[in-house]
Structures are given as structure tokens and as C-alpha cells.
Symmetry: C2
């Protein structure tokens, strides 16, 4: 088995280039760019894709390490963050955040309880309900694995100058709100 770093990425690249996806070049014409500009923009978009893929792989690795599914990991991250802010989380709130049904959340919690990752405690004021808490051990493990990934990311951003950080942050914010449109 060969660990191909290159062709994997290259395979889908054609869809990133507006000259390919949009044969009539409307996008390019509208933006008023020349070929050099287009190449540069494509480079940005390739980099964006590369990062997203790399990050996906990395977070998959830490999930594997903790033997958790994707949703399970999201749940734990959410619970840790909420706990950090002193907010109690009920199964219903968790379902809402994860955008899954409450039935699936019950099963999710059963899994996490069985794995020793969370506890169900009685809700202090509503006897129908429950408060979910992450165990100390899982919290620490998650902090270590997620934290390390974050630290590396952080270092990269830290190397930028303040002006560069503004440019990058502004670009990403624009991108995010554009993606959310419509």
C-alpha cells in the first residue's frame, strides 16, 4: 500500500477551478480578473481545501485515539465547553446542539455512559429531566488531544504579524458569511 500524498488531492481539483466548473467563464468575467489572478485565487481555494482535509484527518485521529464516533466527540466537546461556563446541559439541549433527535441522544448518552465518559445526574429542579456531565478523566484526555491540535494551529497564527492576522481573519469571516447566505 503506497501512501500517496499527491494524486488524492489533485483528483478533485478540477472542480475548484472556475475555468473548469464554469465553462462560459461567467464567474471570472464578472470578477474582472486576468489569468494570473485566477491562478492565485485558485491557490487560495486549494489551500483552503487542503487545510480542511488535513484538519478532518487530524480530528479523526484524535477520535480514533479516544475510540469515539464523530457525534460522540462533538457531544463531549460541547459538554466540556458548557461545563467550563458553568452551564448545565440536559439531553434535550444536547440534541438541539447536535441536531439529532432526542431518541438518538438517549442512545448516544447510553454509549458515553457505558464508556465512562459522562454521567447522568438528576436535574436539580425538574424531576423529568437530567443533567449530563463529563467525567474528569475524559475531560482531561479530550483537553490533551484537542488541545495539542489547537496549540499547533495557534502557533501558525501566532507567527503572523498583527496586520496579516487582520487580513486573514477578515477574509475568513467574509468567507463564512458568504457560505451562510441564501
Amino acid at each position: 500500500m503506497e501512501h500517496e500524498p499527491a494524486p488524492r488531492e489533485a483528483d478533485e481539483l478540477s472542480m475548484l477551478d472556475p475555468r473548469v466548473i464554469d465553462p462560459r467563464q461567467e464567474i471570472v468575467r464578472r470578477a474582472g480578473l486576468d489569468d494570473r489572478d485566477v491562478d492565485q485565487v485558485v491557490r487560495v481555494m486549494q489551500a483552503l481545501r487542503r487545510w480542511r482535509e488535513a484538519d478532518r484527518r487530524a480530528s479523526e485521529a484524535s477520535r480514533r485515539y479516544m475510540r469515539l464516533g464523530e457525534t460522540d466527540m462533538r457531544a463531549i466537546r460541547y459538554l466540556i465547553a458548557a461545563g467550563h461556563q458553568g452551564r448545565a446541559v440536559t439531553p434535550g439541549a444536547l440534541a438541539e446542539h447536535l441536531q439529532i433527535s432526542t431518541a438518538s441522544t438517549t442512545k448516544l448518552l447510553d454509549r458515553l455512559v457505558a464508556g465512562g465518559h459522562v454521567l447522568r445526574r438528576p436535574h436539580p429542579s425538574d424531576r423529568r429531566s437530567v443533567v449530563v456531565e463529563v467525567t474528569a478523566e475524559t475531560r482531561n484526555t479530550a483537553r490533551l488531544t484537542v488541545g495539542r491540535r489547537h496549540a499547533r494551529r495557534f502557533d501558525v497564527a501566532a507567527r503572523l504579524s498583527p496586520a496579516e492576522r487582520d487580513i486573514v481573519a477578515g477574509f475568513l469571516e467574509d468567507l463564512a458569511s458568504t457560505a451562510d447566505e441564501e
Copy 2:
């Protein structure tokens, strides 16, 4: 915080701030940053997360539109890209690309064939094998939905100056290779 539109986002923010995730502040100390720097870097990372989330939602929307699962959509994108380069794709190659078993690929192709998205043709030179092709209609639909998303992204990058594009691309490339480390 500031203009945060979604509490949804804010919920997980604490894990993005190294002052929270790393109480002993080793990350910050190592990078030699003051509080203002940290805020700025955190802003970059929040923006990065916001974009990733927004993009995830957007691509989910186009999957819903085409009534396809995540893997199914990836498969179609791959097939379209390959077709564009004149490369024939076999089920085996698709399995390799998607990183799923060949058995799952058979089922995947059954689904896609049933939905009228792809065709199985006999392989021209290997009678054990098969060539998979996307139907013209699905290709067009995919181009429209994926393409529109891309066009919007493209426009954002196009608004940057050439120098800014270099900064952004460089940053993202660093980020990607850092994420792949270890």
C-alpha cells in the same frame, strides 16, 4: 462577546482560546504573545471555525437538494472530476479514493444507479471490471449546485489584492501542513 449572531457558535468557543484549554498558558508563553495578540489570534481561529461550520452546512444543503448522502456526493464529485480529465473510474478506484470497502462501493453504486446518477459500463479491456460514469443530468445538477457555492467563495478571494492573497494562501498552506504533522 461582540456581534456574535449565533449562540450556537459561541457555545464551543471556549475550547478555541488557549487561555482556557491550556490553563498553565504554555502555548501562549511559548509564542511570546501579549493579551492583545492572543485576542487577535483567537479571532483568526474563530473565523476559521466559523467558515468550516458554514461550509459544512452549505454542502449539506446541496446534498439534501440532490437527496444524496455525504459519501454519495463525494463519489459523484470524484467521478465528475475524473471524467473531466478523461480518466475512466472503476469501482475499485472509487473505493480507494473514498476509503471504503469494495463491498460498500458496490452498494453505493447500486444506490447511485437506482437514483439515475451513474451508469455501469463494461470495461473496454478487462472483462472482470466495470467503468462508472455520471449521467449528464446529474453532472449538470452537481455543477450548478457545487459551482454556485464555489463561485461565491471565489468572489470573496477575488476581492483580495494580490499581496493579500499571498498572505492568506501562505497561512492556509502552513496550517494544512501543520495539521498533517506527526
